[in-house]
């Protein structure tokens, strides 16, 4: 079965997000007020797996070994069947 995993990498709470802060300032310059702006990275990974849970397990390993840095990042994974 083919699945698509959507991996979202965010900074852990309390980490500085200079890119988000810069965008927030630029938005203010354009007249848009915002409480906060945070950036995140999104990865879409298409893979073969026997089940959704097997796919999730594989992608979780990928996150731990490469895609996320556990010291500064948190990540979430969503799996859907690829049609």
């Amino acid at each position: 079965m083919q699945y698509q995993a959507t991996v979202k990498i965010e900074q852990k709470p309390g980490m500085l997000d200079p890119e988000g802060t810069t965008v927030k300032r630029a938005l203010e310059h354009l007249g848009y007020a915002s409480e906060s702006v945070k950036t995140a990275k999104l990865f879409e990974i298409v893979l073969e797996a026997e089940s959704a849970s097997a796919a999730k397990q594989q992608v979780d390993e990928m996150c731990q070994k490469l895609i996320a840095n556990p010291i500064v990042d948190k990540y979430s994974i969503e799996i859907e069947e690829k049609k």
């Binding site: 980490m15 500085l16 200079p18 890119e19 810069t22 490469l66 895609i67 840095n69 010291i71 500064v72």
Partner: protein
């Protein structure tokens, strides 16, 4: 004595380091392309600066997961010295050979200037030629140099005097103004538990000849060479 200078795709300070070790200091040193994978016959390693793999994903993340890094780990486990400069420091944290992480500068700008530093410990193979608490100046050139470590790791680094360099002002005080990138506790360089793996953001190879305005950086390489001569 033979020192390896690792080259990844995007490394760009390799020849500067080679020039200092070979031409300026007269040591035996060689650049090693990462695909070589083995490091037989080498007594020390320098991972130079640059933008390995375009800083994709996170600075140093891809290089840290190449096979040659297994050889670097093996060499470090034998007690041989490993120095990571700038991108090399990022590679060493990503490879988990050093604590913490290097993230985007607090003010997200490429900082390229001389920085004042305080030598925090002489008890490493890279700082033995300095004086206790010596104030030095070395060039920095980075955008992802904000050192961060979790509380427990930070406590461990402090407790065991594993912070090698801190950003300071001209009077040697680790102030906020003297901190070019927002590094936690003004940390510019650290060593591992065995003290034989150093990562630092400043570029000692750019301050190793009088013609370049400073010879201070050469002391790091000289300390490293002393250590190799004494131990291997």
């Amino acid at each position: 004595m033979k020192i390896a200078i690792i080259q990844f795709g995007g490394t760009n300070c390799d020849l500067d380091v080679l020039h200092v070790l070979k031409d300026v200091m007269g040591l035996e040193a060689e650049t090693v392309w990462y695909k070589q994978e083995v490091l037989n016959g080498f007594d020390g390693v320098v991972i130079p600066g640059g933008f390995s793999y375009g800083d994709y994903l996170r600075a140093g993340a891809i290089a840290a997961r190449t096979s040659i890094m297994d050889s670097v780990k093996k060499l470090a486990a034998e007690g041989k010295p490993v120095m990571g400069i700038c991108n090399g420091f990022q590679v060493l944290t990503e490879a988990r050979m050093l604590k913490g992480a290097l993230t985007t500068n607090a003010y997200p700008k490429f900082r390229c200037h001389w920085a004042n530093l305080r030598v925090e410990t002489l008890d490493t193979p890279f700082t033995s030629r300095f004086k206790e608490g010596e104030l030095i100046s070395l060039p920095i050139a980075h955008m992802e140099g904000k050192f961060y470590a979790e509380e427990a790791d930070l406590a461990e680094l402090d407790e065991n005097e594993r912070v090698a360099f801190r950003y300071v002002d001209e009077n040697g005080k680790a102030t906020e103004e003297a901190n070019p990138n927002g590094s936690i506790e003004n940390i510019a360089g650290i060593v591992n538990e065995g003290r034989n793996v150093l990562g630092l953001m400043p570029h000692p190879e750019r301050a190793s000849e009088a013609i370049l305005g400073s010879e201070t950086g050469r002391k790091l390489f000289e300390s490293m060479a002393d250590y190799i001569t004494e131990n291997f």
